[in-house]
Amino acid sequence: MKIEILGPVQTVRSRLSGWFAFTRKLQFEETVWGWILILPAILGVILFKLGPVLASLYFSFTKYEIISTPQWIGLANYQHLPQDELYMKSVSVTLNYSVLFIPLSVIVAYTIGLLMSLNLKGITIWRTMWYVPSLVPTVASAVIWRWALNPEFGPVNFPLKLLGLPYPGWLTDPDWIIRALVLIQLWGLGNAALIFLASIKGVPETYYEAAEVDGANAWTKFWNITIPMTSSVIFFQLIMSVIGSFQIFSVAYILFGGQTTSDPAGPGNAALFYVLYTYRNAFGYFRNGYASAMAWVLFAVVMILTILLFRTQKLWVYYEVEGGDRR
């Protein structure tokens, strides 16, 4: 921090002690303002994050049905989880989805980002076309895809039907429902693609020029320059994708949530996602203690996965060393 330019030079030279008092006053002013400015964020973290997290941990050890007061039952909720068939179903549905969605989301978004980075005529228009689906609200996209994936009338099966090939019942066949949801979610990946676009565009042109001098072709340039230089963003998106994929809710609720909580979520509960089942327990069956235990298991899994991913960071993520005093 460049304090010296704040006070007239003469003052600093003639009255050193005064200068120290001045900087101390500045420091104090900075501290006070600092805490005032970040106060809302601190309150927000306490009121809407840390507080609720602790409360939820407590609820998870209780029998709690909103109207009643929580009743301590120790680990009973957690012990019940593995015996709950629907719970195990929701775990397997969510895992099946995540295994497909996490890698695909990163690869597809990166590919779209690459396409968007091409220097072609009219690129802004083409970029917009790729991006715009991500603006569509989940409810509206559910309406759209209910038609697009309709086995008889939808355009996704249209070419298969035309060729006389067998076509899947995307939203009716339990085996295809997960794939259908992955497809729907991939359609709205525009934001991730834009962030990839930004990072791809941020790779200094000189690196490519230097590589060209050495006779590198497009493929080697991509693998040895673009990918490493954007690996920090890939890492970030991977983490976001992990966190997001375990929490999928709205699209599953809208398409398969049914009108009442007693209906199965899709044929054979094929769309009974983890958060959907948690939501049903909390707001459908009013088993808040049980739902809190479910939520905490999810939290623990997300945390462990994130930490593990951070551990792998050293192996494949490249960070540029940043210099300079930015405070």
Partner: protein, 278 residues
């Protein structure tokens, strides 16, 4: 060499344009279906141009669904939430970016760590809290939290503020400008691209929100467009309301698309700038 270049370029165009068209086909169909007669939507082969064009749908929907009510509910929530998010993000983002004091980085670390926190974990206690305050079935549970900042946006703005040269601020401070003046007269104009990104994202988040309204708004008079459209899907009156669902979906999508196109240039630029720095 020239031939391969040409080939590469053509292939690039083909994928870019072809894929782009596939991405927007569902949109086109949505708009076209909103103009179709009931029973003309789920047909094979797909009917791309409505025949006959039925503008009546856009009148009928108002009889069937309280669209204006849903629309104004959604608007109220979106506007007040966005104001809170933007204001709070600017102030806290600046605090984290520019002011040095003990404990700052610890608080910032905790704030970032909350990004990992799934909403289901906090959902029940937050619901309990608002229900104890008798605020369930009001808009406050949806609006209020935005006035305490959103970790990701604070992070975004902090990163952006840090790229603005400190000297600009120091000059203003010599002239005796207060912190708030520095923030709003110097930093905010300079951080415009990032602030636009936060604003648009916040508008989108709130306009499109589904889970929170679902939890907190059970009374129909408080429903948002998203909840209204969702309930239309499950209507069991025996009538085919698909065409009206399409109209509702158009009502939901159009404002966001318009906002996007109006701010497109700054928005993309903002994402590019902040994305690079993040």
């Amino acid at each position: 060499m020239k031939v391969t270049r040409f080939f590469q370029k053509s292939l690039g165009y083909l994928i870019l344009v072809g894929g782009g068209l596939i991405m927007v086909v569902p949109f086109f169909w949505l708009f076209s279906s909103s103009l179709k007669a009931p029973g003309k939507i789920f047909v094979y082969p797909p009917q791309w141009i409505p025949n006959p064009v039925r503008l009546q749908n856009y009148v009928d929907v108002f009889d069937e669904v309280p669209v204006l009510l849903y629309f104004s509910n959604t608007l109220i929530i979106t506007v007040f939430s966005t104001i809170g998010t933007v204001l709070c993000t600017i102030l806290t983002g600046y605090g984290f970016a520019r002011l040095r004091f003990k404990g700052r980085d610890t608080v910032f670390g905790i704030l970032l760590a909350t990004l990992m926190l799934p909403y289901v974990v906090t959902m029940i206690p937050i619901y309990v809290m608002f229900s104890k305050l008798h605020l369930v079935n009001t808009f406050l549970p949806l609006i209020l939290p935005n006035y305490f900042g959103e970790a990701f946006y604070i992070f975004l703005l902090r990163q952006f503020f840090r790229t603005i040269p400190v000297e600009l601020e120091d000059a203003a401070r010599i002239d005796g400008a207060s912190r708030l003046r520095i923030i709003f007269q110097i930093m905010v104009p300079l951080a415009k691209p990032a602030i636009i990104v936060v604003t648009i994202q916040s508008v989108l988040d709130n306009w499109n929100a589904f889970m929170q309204p679902l939890i907190f708004l059970s009374k129909q008079r408080l429903w948002t467009l998203a909840l209204g459209l969702n309930s239309l899907q499950h209507q069991e009156s025996g009538l085919d309301l698909t065409h009206l669902m399409m109209v509702m979906a158009v009502f939901m999508v159009t404002p966001v698309v318009i906002i996007y196109f109006l701010a497109q240039k700054q928005f993309i630029q903002g994402i590019v700038l902040t994305g690079m720095k993040a």
